[in-house]
Symmetry: C2
């Protein structure tokens, strides 16, 4: 079997974050699969088929791409950010596990990309400079009680927290509930960073505090294109005249010298 499936991370919106490996994998594909807005970022190439699907059809999209690859084609599945972080690579792996034995023999390549939390962090300094976690706020795929448990554990143990999928039309209250939950563990002055559409023309980055985060989220109309970083008790915001504050988490914990 000569089929090949590349699961490719495009990075956030800016084309300058597309790696040479991803560029080469896109160029080598006979066919592209993906959610429409991600496929729209890939220039058309003659002879290359494009299969667009809705963002709620991940399992079926993965199976379709695997069937196509199993026929001997070089297939590429595109994903925003990094395909392994709350994205298509896990859906492809799950489809392989559930599918025919032949799919396990396909040449599967995952091409990493800049994931949203790294891009947002870069815009403000280094909020992820020490131990951190990444947590999806979507309770479509896990019970809200699991999310609360993870928020408690992460904040209680001093991790910085990157929140993916913070808000959608069907999930309007979860982000506010998460801020309230985190406020049980963290001071109101804890720095919070919002990054919306980072790397795109309408990018907006805002630094605030946990105490004000619920109000700011509403003002910004935080949505699925938004990534939120909540600091740990050690995260610092450094004011700068006329610029966004620098936000960083020191490499050394308090009381330990570098």
């Amino acid at each position: 079997m000569s089929g090949r499936l590349a699961v490719i991370g495009l990075g956030p919106g800016d084309a300058r974050w597309l790696t040479p490996e991803a560029e080469a994998a896109l160029a080598a594909a006979d066919a592209l699969y993906g959610y429409g807005p991600y496929l729209d970022r890939v220039p058309a190439r003659p002879g290359q088929a494009r299969h667009t699907s809705d963002n709620r059809e991940e399992g079926e999209r993965a199976a379709a791409a695997l069937r196509h690859a199993a026929n001997g084609a070089a297939v590429a599945m595109v994903s925003g950010g990094d395909p392994g972080v709350f994205a298509m690579a896990a859906a492809v792996c799950a489809a392989i596990e559930a599918g025919p034995a032949a799919w396990r023999q396909l040449d599967l390549v995952v091409v990493p990309g800049i994931t949203a939390m790294l891009a947002v962090a870069a815009r403000v300094g280094a909020p992820l400079g020490h131990d951190f976690c990444a947590l999806s706020l979507s309770d479509n795929l896990k019970p809200w009680q699991v999310i609360e448990k993870r928020l408690d554990a992460a904040a209680g143990a001093g991790f910085v927290i990157a929140l993916y999928n913070p808000v959608s039309r069907a999930r309007p209250w979860q982000l506010g509930a998460a801020f309230d939950r985190l406020a049980r563990h963290l001071p109101a002055a804890t720095p919070v960073v919002f990054g919306r559409a980072v790397g795109r023309a309408d990018e907006h980055v805002e630094v605030t505090t946990l105490g004000a985060a619920g109000v700011v989220a509403a003002e910004l109309a935080a949505d699925m294109a938004t990534l939120v970083i909540v600091g740990s008790p050690e995260t610092r915001a450094v004011a700068r005249d006329g610029r966004t504050p620098l936000v960083y988490t020191p490499r050394a914990s308090a009381g330990v010298s570098a």
Copy 2:
């Protein structure tokens, strides 16, 4: 003041992971600063000065680069992986906070990169496919008790765990102690991924279990170039004939349909 400091992530070893933004920022610099092995990955350019330092001199390296930029130069600080993840961006921010007021007015740009956990994860599937954390095992910069608390919290709450800086010559026992600690929370069959020198000619990736991880770490001579991913109770390893097992963490928690 026209000075500029770009803190640039080169990604892991493979040049195909260097983003166009990083490439452009390197090309635009009057002077480069960095740890020797990272600077060695950047081709020499005529007229571009290079300031190499040891990897234990991060604070002084950051201050030197800031002084240079404050004199009006375009300075680049290079970092492996992503500069914001256990790397130079936090050191630069700390130096800015502690330094003269003029440093806050410098044009600081952080250029994100592929961090090691994304590259290692890509090699085996999607172990970071759901909630995860990144934790440095170095107790040079925080007490070991803090690390134990974070291991307990992360494993107990169901996060996948990426361990950075797992072993060094001065820290030979910490990785084994971390596996023992995690075994209090996780089954012995939990998948563990070792990625050493990923993206370099001597790359080695191995999939094992938590029960065998201590022995495998010794066999592989895990070191500072190694990144370890410890699964959650939901992480799955899928055997493939003649290939490394696929390792992935499903997007949906058990009992919740996608």
